[in-house]
């Protein structure tokens, strides 16, 4: 038995990706081929791509739901769907999009990119990373199993009580939603913890906090935000489930229960959540735009602080979703003011981008087009948000199509457009091949035009008084043409999106070979081959500026990062952990190998929640015991990871 190694001085060498050292690292880090390897991999690049693909599958599902009900709304008095079916579809659409697409897709980008951006080899907790992916996947499947069985939530995505309480909503639809949501919440929370520890502890030596890539600021900020806000909604859904299945009285409307408490708990999470699904996307734009504009980002510090500020203020605005519930005017004034204040940090980002474009030399590729489209839509969505943030205006607009217009400008504009830019930008890193630019143009223009044609008129129909969540409307209200335009626009938009899928399928096989750095970009991920090898970096880079790959142009020679020379760390799977502020090396961490345990534990956990449906206590108990046993095996201290003090020194 080898004696555990407790300390050593890491060797510093200069090695390339075709050296013997690299081959040795590959053998250490590589996932074994075949089905077992597929289920047990903990490689963050693989998991990140899975997150993105899965989230896109949910996007397609939610999109199809929307396209179906848009047909219904194309003209007055259509009866393709009955009222109950309509309720189910728009609820599933909202839920799928906002919970199972919009955030997980960003998580996917972060899981793939963060370790590469930071110059390390994996996430802080690689097995936890796999676990959170599986739990996310199973929670979505759980929700859609309910859908397939005809148990469909139908009370809107925010699911207000007492409408969602059992006396008014029998069947299991709401229970599927509640339990799936708690399960997803577990995944999100654990994922956030993983990001926080990764970003604070695993940056390449020298990457002090003021050199953190701007995209990592987005991920770090929202991860901290979610650590504090997720429990609120999980608790709300847990109370709701208890009300419905155990017979407790929190918000069911009987006696002294408080249905409005649901809204508080929901929106205390809900508004930070809205930022969680836009801030990482915004910071993705801030990461991509400078590359397209051939210059460093203007106002890095201001933009990083604006990101943090938005999240902080984001905790103080939840009541603006409840302006119409009859709260005191004091509360309305306070929350209205904060809601308007929050425009300031968004404006800071906006001016930073404009200045970056203005003073740069933009390359008009598809990724840049999506960035530019994003910025335009960002302004429209921001202005309509500012409008609804003001109390008297909101009283007019709430529950009309104006709000539907606003949320889509924010969600599609601020999230999906950024994601599209991200796909065009990082696809070469993920696959080694470039996406086709010609299809890309069509992709952008169809989506951009379709989006504006489809969603802008919603603002007008809202101002004309059309309520949201109605399954049809009578003739002669002046809404007919607007709705027809909306439906046509939606379909154009959907066709535009389809082109992305076509492009991905075609380019994966036949796209031009990308090489390590096709965009001549500045951040560390572009110093690795495309796709990066399993261990990411042969030597751990040492970083001396915010744009390590542009230093020849920007930095005096004595002040340069060291990319090709650094610590090798090859006594097993190893990474360097550095101090949280200055990123000085502190410890060599031993990383766990691939394992099937995350998958099994995620299955057992899903079993616990499936048992909650009846509730079937035997299933809950059995799954919990299995989950516990698996966790115990998972966490068993190991000599090889230098977790134990054996043999005694």
């Amino acid at each position: 038995m080898t004696v555990t190694e407790y300390e050593r001085a890491p060797e510093i060498v200069a090695e390339g990706y075709d050296s013997a050292t690299a081959a040795g690292l590959k053998a250490l880090w590589e996932t074994e081929p075949g089905i077992k390897g597929w289920f047990s991999t903990v490689d963050h690049k693989e998991i990140g791509i899975r997150y993105i693909v899965t989230a896109f599958a949910f996007l397609v599902a939610g999109g199809i739901e929307a396209l179906i009900f848009r047909l219904q709304l194309a003209g007055p008095e259509l009866h393709l769907l009955g009222p109950e079916q309509y309720n189910q579809l728009f609820t599933m659409h909202g839920v799928t999009m906002i919970l199972w697409y919009a955030f997980p897709v960003l998580t996917g980008f972060s899981v793939f990119l963060q370790p590469l951006l930071l110059g390390t080899r994996d996430m802080a907790f690689p097995r936890l990373n796999a676990f959170t992916y599986w739990v996310f996947l199973f929670s979505g499947i759980f929700l859609y199993v309910g859908f397939a069985l005809g148990s469909v939530p139908n009370a809107g995505w925010f699911n207000y009580t007492p409408l969602a309480s059992r006396p008014f909503n029998s069947g299991f639809g709401i229970d599927f939603y509640a339990l799936a949501n708690i399960l997803l919440g577990i995944s999100t929370t654990l994922g956030s913890i993983n990001f926080v520890v990764t970003i604070l502890r695993e940056r390449a030596p020298g990457m002090s906090i003021n050199r953190l890539p701007i995209m990592s600021w987005g991920t770090l900020t929202i991860s901290v935000g979610l650590i504090f806000s997720m429990p609120s909604v999980s608790l709300a859904f847990f109370f709701l489930w208890m009300d419905r299945r155990i017979g407790t009285h929190f918000f069911d409307g009987s006696g002294e229960t408080q249905p409005l408490l649901w809204q508080h708990l929901f929106w205390i999470w809900g508004h930070p959540w809205v930022y969680a699904i836009v801030l990482p996307a915004i910071s993705m734009i801030s990461q991509i735009l400078p590359v397209s504009c051939r210059r460093p980002l203007v106002g890095y510090t201001a933009l990083a602080l604006a990101t943090v500020m938005t999240m902080v203020l984001g905790f103080g605005v939840w009541v603006h979703h409840m302006f119409a519930t009859g709260l005191s005017s004091m509360a309305l004034a306070f929350f209205g003011a904060v809601s308007i204040l929050i425009v300031i940090p968004s404006a800071v980002s906006f001016f930073g981008w404009i200045a970056t474009i203005w003073t740069g030399r933009p390359v008009l590729n598809t990724s840049f087009l999506f960035c530019a489209g994003f910025i335009i839509v960002f302004v429209i969505g921001g202005v309509s948000g500012f409008m609804t943030g003001s109390v008297p205006v909101d009283w007019q607009l709430t529950d009309t199509y104006f709000v539907v217009g606003h949320i889509h400008y924010v969600l599609i504009g601020w999230n999906l457009f950024a994601v599209m830019a991200g796909i065009y930008h990082w696809f070469p890193k993920m696959t080694g091949r470039l996406l086709d630019e010609r299809i890309g143009r069509w992709n952008f223009w169809l989506m951009f035009i379709g989006f504006n044609v489809g969603f802008f008129p919603m603002h007008i129909s809202g101002l004309l008084g059309m309520p949201r969540r109605v399954y049809t409307y009578p003739e002669g209200m002046g809404w007919d043409t607007l709705n027809l335009i909306t439906t046509v626009g939606s379909y154009v938009f959907a066709i535009g999106f389809l082109l992305l899928i076509v492009n991905v399928v075609v380019s994966r096989r036949r796209g031009a070979i990308a090489g390590p750095n096709p965009w001549d970009a500045d951040s560390l991920e572009w110093s690795t081959p495309s796709p990066p090898p399993p261990y990411n970096f042969v030597v751990i880079p040492a970083v001396a500026s915010r744009s390590p790959l542009w230093e020849e142009r920007l930095q005096a020679p004595e002040n340069r990062s060291s990319i090709g020379e650094g610590m090798v760390l090859d006594h097993g799977k190893e990474i360097a952990a550095t101090s949280a502020i200055d990123a000085q090396p502190e410890v060599i961490l031993k990383m766990p190998e691939d394992s099937i345990l995350p998958l099994l534990t995620a299955l057992a956990l899903t079993g616990v929640f499936a048992g909650g449906l009846g509730p079937m206590w035997w299933l809950v108990a059995a799954s919990a015991v299995i989950a516990l046993a698996l966790t115990c095996v998972w966490l068993w201290p190991r000599d090889r990871l230098a977790q134990t003090a054996r043999p005694h020194p």
């Binding site: 929370t189 997720m230 429990p231 109370f239 155990i246 060599i588 977790q643």
Partner: protein
């Protein structure tokens, strides 16, 4: 800058004390758990300050006959666990085993007394809003005690197997801070459920 960084210093390897990722992960986990208890108690206060038909709590002020000694027991267990952790770091095996083991037992007794307290209640989980809140808030806390007990049991057993000592003891520290959290958060629960009604803070008469 880069010279400094590439300096060939000796570094510890593996999960060591507060440098271990697990320690940082646990701190983050505790933050999210703390938030959970804030929301739980927010729900309680939210109900408490609304207008009621009768007094709040409707079932009368909960008795401290068992809860107060139990609170003291739980707090004391934190010190015992701390002592065990200290023993681990300094290579005193008997301290280590006794501290963690006794800490575990004290936690188990706390749980048992909580169970009795539940049994003695004249109302049940589904009797009304207050009853639901009382059982859910204390139930959530008990669930956390159970998790803490599992952690303590695990590190006690692993200590028996000789896994932890001065060279590596991160697991023990991680279990210990979780246990301290479970104890600290009980103080807030105790304050909310048992003390605020006595202080006359939440008596919203009709």
């Amino acid at each position: 800058m880069s010279e400094l960084v590439l300096e060939n210093r000796r570094l510890p390897t593996g999960s060591i004390g507060k440098l271990a990722n697990g320690y940082w992960g646990m701190i983050c986990f505790i933050l999210t758990e703390a938030a959970l208890f804030i929301y739980l108690q927010f729900a309680y206060y939210y109900h408490a300050v609304q207008p009621h038909q009768g007094p709040w709590p409707p079932e009368g002020i909960p008795s401290m006959r068992m809860a107060l000694p139990n609170t003291i027991l739980l707090l004391a267990s934190s010190f015992v666990v701390w002592w065990g952790e200290h023993g681990t770091k300094h290579g005193r095996r008997s301290h280590q085993l006794l501290g963690l083991g006794i800490g575990f037992l004290m936690g188990a007794v706390f749980l048992g007394v909580q169970g009795l307290e539940w049994q003695n209640k004249t109302f049940g989980l589904t009797s009304g809003a207050y009853a639901s809140l009382f059982f859910t808030v204390t139930g959530f806390h008990m669930a956390h005690v159970v998790v803490g007990l599992f952690l303590l049991l695990a590190v006690t057993v692993w200590s028996f197997l000789g896994y932890f000592g001065p060279a590596r003891s991160a697991y023990v520290s991680i279990a210990a801070i979780y246990w301290h959290f479970v104890d600290a958060v009980w103080i807030t629960v105790f304050f909310t459920l048992y003390l605020t009604p006595r202080l006359g803070l939440l008596w919203a008469a009709p």
